[in-house]
Symmetry: C2
Subunit: 414 residues, 2 copies
């Protein structure tokens, strides 16, 4: 195997670095002389910013540390390649670098936009007679890539969310019953509600679970929400409601846009309220209810201290499989995961790997099936649990020092 | 030992239930026939709501589970006893219950307000010739009780905060360097900045740490803050700033009150912005900087999934020591912890237990010493690290099931 290069792109996850680890280890095993890492993805590559990963990963302890390090260790970027037919100068530049450094295989770890990059580079490569391989490695907490059963990064975020929501419910239920609050927890997911749905996994005999979960897959019914909250408050019990940040009314307006006095800063940027804040304000102003909002914010994509072992192993293996595919001269593919059994009988959970044509993946997104949403539109059916439960199972022990998890740092990326 | 009763009061913590476990186990060992638990503290007791803890804790596995369960398992309350000289009816009611159930020892786990309860009950008991013991067990994430070196609950919150801030810094530093953000993390602490200070513990060779930490112990200088943020933005590097929710200007106004358009709801409640939001808005509107705010909210007091072993052990031992003190006929005391060595040489860390007159503790609060704040007012000196580091060390393995930590539930408290 000739030299290879790996890059990370888009939003970070808790497991994204495990894919770098897997690709590095497998490429070395298959005889790659150099395994390069792009600093801040393709934007860094275009500036000539990439490093020899031997510098950090030839020590196996560092490989273990990397699996436990959240957020793109090589740095990320958000860069969309122009169409080669419109502007091919960037393509020429990239292929000059690849040729100069004898790089035959190019791996990009990311979500929808990153797969667009793999598709365009692979198409350019094929149409210009290059013998190079471009393989995508899936990664997104949003779990919205099509074809693959699920995406590395989702399981760890889902585990963090279900754990945190369970703890928030404990906290809220312990409070003074003479003054109960409705807590609204806001979770990432603009168009796909996979992460908000994951909050349902905390429901069990030791936790009543969220009182409602609202996903962006179906229109948000404000009247129903207000009536339900009123109903909840009649019981004088603390309650907790989970929402996706991207919930929308039937007329298409985002709930987060509903606050009357949206301010505009001096640069013309809208200062949007969080959707949770909009709903909490309505409950307080119109029903006089005590509320609290919790936004899990970027915590939910960086909480490697409670990663899912299943997720980290799969992220690692996706890196391994990408290298195997390139070694078999495949190109224009993304690694996908397939579940071996039907959702209704998926214990024990078994996942196998394959690759799939990137053209069917790039720029498409997969949503939570509406038939997995309960009839009252406020919860998830057991089909969701069958799907998601195995993905959050198993724990990765962090490597602790001074009471805190250790991380691997690549100073060139800082 | 006759029958005893235990209650929990004030804000929950990740370690508060370990004190229940310790008191229960020790009281049983010393021959107590019944160990009762008040449901929702003294408010529940006044309604006759208390249970025999044997029902849940006679199984040692449940005792282990209880140590790992966040938030007051018995439920909490916020109730201030009237002065007995003004209204002694509540006192009569309480002592009737204690007499009826042959309860000689009364343990209350809580912070400042809860110690006020212990003080008043103990004073009433002594002045009315009762032979009963009232002992306080310290608990507060705020770490602001005087006399004791530190408070159970603080170490676990501090560990969660330092871990989360470290992960947030990783996340932010991985982002696209062409579009860096200043992240403002808001941490609990109205008057005492112990928890915000704990964010400094993530600074090490694998983490640059927060770029600034602002505590409520010293006036917040808005001009200095804005100039510093401007300075940070010149480096085109992502930055992260930590603030206590309670930071105030020199004129006494809370930063969270500074947003011009404070709205008032139909019940006349002020809808205050978070201090982090006020500062982020200023940075965006006046300097054009990209910002993000993260409020750790109630997550920071309920995150038992990453408890400090030191903290949980100490919380347990405070429960044990309270029972020992009552058995020795002490009353009107709180259990305190003493560090055996000077702060400058406190490795290995050794902590011993004692009790102290509740009159010197109730209603007083302890702040971060200003000499532990750096001269630039934006950080903590090494004295703080020497003090706080041992308190976050060691991990408690949660008992996992289905990918999530198990909790002990006492249905009577729900």
């Amino acid at each position: 195997m000739n030299n290879v290069i790996i890059g990370q792109s888009g939003g970070p996850t808790a497991a994204i670095n495990a894919s770098v680890a897997g690709a590095y280890v497998k490429a070395k095993e298959l005889g790659a002389n150099k395994v390069f890492g792009m600093i801040h993805g393709i934007e860094g590559l275009l500036q000539g910013e990439f490093i020899d990963l031997d510098k950090y990963l030839s020590d196996p302890t560092n490989v273990e540390l990397l699996k436990r390090t959240p957020a793109s260790v090589l740095g990320t970027c958000r860069y969309k390649l122009p169409e080669a037919s419109v502007d091919n100068s960037v393509y020429k530049q990239i292929f000059e670098i690849l040729d100069k450094y004898n790089i035959d295989s190019f791996f990009y770890i990311g979500g929808n936009d990153s797969m667009d990059t793999i598709m365009k580079l692979s198409d350019y490569s094929s149409s210009h007679g290059y013998d190079k391989q471009f393989i995508g490695i899936p990664k997104t907490i949003d779990n919205d890539l099509p074809i693959t059963d699920h995406c590395p990064g989702f399981g760890s975020s889902a585990k963090y969310i279900a754990t945190s929501v369970k703890e928030l419910i404990r906290d809220n239920q312990a409070s003074d019953p003479r003054n109960p609050a409705i807590v609204i927890v806001e979770i990432m997911g603009r168009n796909a509600g996979w992460l908000a749905a994951a909050a349902s996994l905390c429901t069990s005999d030791d936790c009543s679970g969220p009182d409602a979960i609202y996903l962006p897959e179906i229109p948000f019914d404000m009247d129903d929400f207000m009536n339900y909250a009123k109903e909840l408050s009649k019981g004088h019990k603390p309650a907790l409601i989970v929402i996706s940040e991207g919930i929308k009314l039937a007329d298409g307006r985002y709930v987060c846009e509903l606050n009357g006095n949206v301010e505009t800063d001096t640069f013309g940027h809208k200062q949007m309220s969080a959707a949770s804040r909009v709903l909490a304000d309505k409950l307080t102003n119109e029903l006089g209810l005590r509320t609290r909002t919790v936004e899990l914010s970027t915590l939910q994509r960086s909480a490697a201290h409670t990663s899912s072992l299943t997720d980290v192993k799969e992220a690692y293996q996706c890196g391994v499989q990408a290298v195997i595919a390139a070694n078999e001269k495949k190109t224009g593919k993304m690694v996908i995961m397939k579940r071996m059994m039907e959702n209704t009988a998926d214990y024990p959970y078994i996942c196998v790997y394959d690759t799939y044509d990137i053209h069917a993946i790039a720029n498409f997104e997969k949503k939570v099936p509406v038939e997995w949403i309960t009839d009252n539109k406020r919860g998830l059916t057991q089909s969701f649990e069958h799907y998601a439960r195995p993905l959050i199972c198993g724990e990765v022990m962090p490597i602790m020092s001074g009471g805190l998890p250790r991380h691997l740092i690549i100073p060139e990326a800082l």
